[in-house]
């Protein structure tokens, strides 16, 4: 399966600032996804990022708050803008890798970014 890395692995930020999270994959993939996992909660999809097109956001998430870039088939960034303590979460990127054991639909996850906003 694809190997996914994320940077930074964790950060502590002040409210009102922005943080950009990077997701790098070791092979070309069409579909990349960004999730948020708030403390004690399950994964919530923020947006789907396809190369060469605008990201598609889920209900409750907007581009001004979570701008996403997808410049090529191996890389994406998620920015958390104008942060507040409610943005404290783990942010995960994932890729759909049809070649992997599970087949189409199976998503593999990066190690995550733990964000704390003070």
């Amino acid at each position: 399966s694809a190997v996914i890395s994320q940077k930074p692995s964790r950060d502590i930020c002040q409210r009102g600032t922005s943080l950009t999270i990077q997701c790098q994959v070791d092979s070309q993939v069409t579909m990349m996804f960004w999730y948020r996992q708030q403390p004690g909660q399950s994964l919530t999809l923020i947006a789907t990022a396809n190369q060469g097109s605008e990201a598609t956001y889920e209900s409750g998430f907007v581009i001004d708050k979570f701008p996403i870039s997808r410049p090529n088939l191996t890389f994406s960034t998620l920015t958390v803008s104008n942060m507040s303590p409610e943005d404290s979460s783990i942010y995960l990127c994932s890729v759909e890798d049809a070649r992997a054991r599970g087949g189409t639909d199976t998503q593999y996850f990066g190690p995550g970014t733990r964000l704390t906003v003070l």
Binding site: M31, F33, S42, T48, A100, G102, T106, G112
Partner: protein, 113 residues
């Protein structure tokens, strides 16, 4: 609205016990059902199920899907302390922009030695 419900939300067992985790769903455009194990940050893939009644096995873990009754179970036999984790059920759905996963809240499993 697509919905995935897992039960129980948490349970504590002793090493050697067998556990059954449940996942029910109500979604439009069902494609697949997936199970993940989450120990620290990144969920790790366990199984993907697309057909009813066909059990998938990996060591002490097994899973089966019932597409008529809209649920799946994950069984873990002879549990070990290393099985302690959050187990996530996700349903793959198709929509106008492609495919995506809808996750349940997870079941927290703690195995005591």
């Amino acid at each position: 609205e697509d919905k995935v419900v897992q039960s129980p939300l948490s349970l504590v067992v002793h090493e050697g016990d067998t556990v059954t985790l449940n996942c029910s769903y109500e979604v439009t455009n069902f494609r697949s059902l997936l199970w993940y194990k989450q120990e620290k940050k990144a969920p790790t893939f366990l199984f993907m199920l697309t057909s009813s009644g066909i059990e998938k096995k990996s060591g002490r873990l097994s899973s089966i899907l019932d597409k008529k009754e809209l649920f799946s179970i994950l069984n873990i036999t002879a549990t070990q302390t290393g099985d302690s984790a959050v187990y996530l059920c996700a349903v793959g759905v198709s929509w106008e922009y492609g495919n995506k996963l809808v996750f349940g809240a997870g079941t927290i499993l703690r195995v005591k030695s």
